[in-house]
Point group: C2
């Protein structure tokens, strides 16, 4: 029980952690310093973690990577929106 | 065997993914758009994933989060170095 709490807090931090980046991006309308290669690799990686988590039947890995995937997609989209469509 | 390959590629992507951000930061000397709250939560989260991985005795989770921790620490340090010490 204690371990699942540690796993859950870990997953919450690395998932919810991307929300402040979304908020900062929306607030400043600047995401140019954020590496698009990093975002691409995170998208690919989270997709594969999701599949791996489904295989392990580990609900923490599945939920964490499902949400992270949606947050990183949002950052990726905002970055290009602000860069090419203006602010 | 196939599943461990998927897990390994997933872990590689979400770990190695932070290296392009380090390279971009060193190249442009600008990391101001990167959220410090995101970096703090990722540091905390990766530390706890590391502990959780040790408990699960999952070498993929342990190695991935060990390396990610060192990469995110580097980004965090560079961000404040460029911000307060100048470029």
């Amino acid at each position: 029980m204690g371990w699942s709490i540690i796993g859950t807090i870990a997953a919450l931090c690395t998932t919810v952690g991307f929300i402040p980046q979304i908020i900062r991006g929306i607030r400043t309308k600047e995401l140019n310093d954020v590496s698009p290669i990093m975002l691409s690799l995170l998208l690919l990686g989270c997709s594969m973690w999701l599949v791996y988590g489904l295989h392990l039947r580990d609900i923490i890995i599945v939920l964490a990577n499902g949400f992270t995937l949606s947050f990183v997609s949002t950052i990726f989209s905002l970055r290009f929106l602000y860069k090419y469509r203006g602010k």
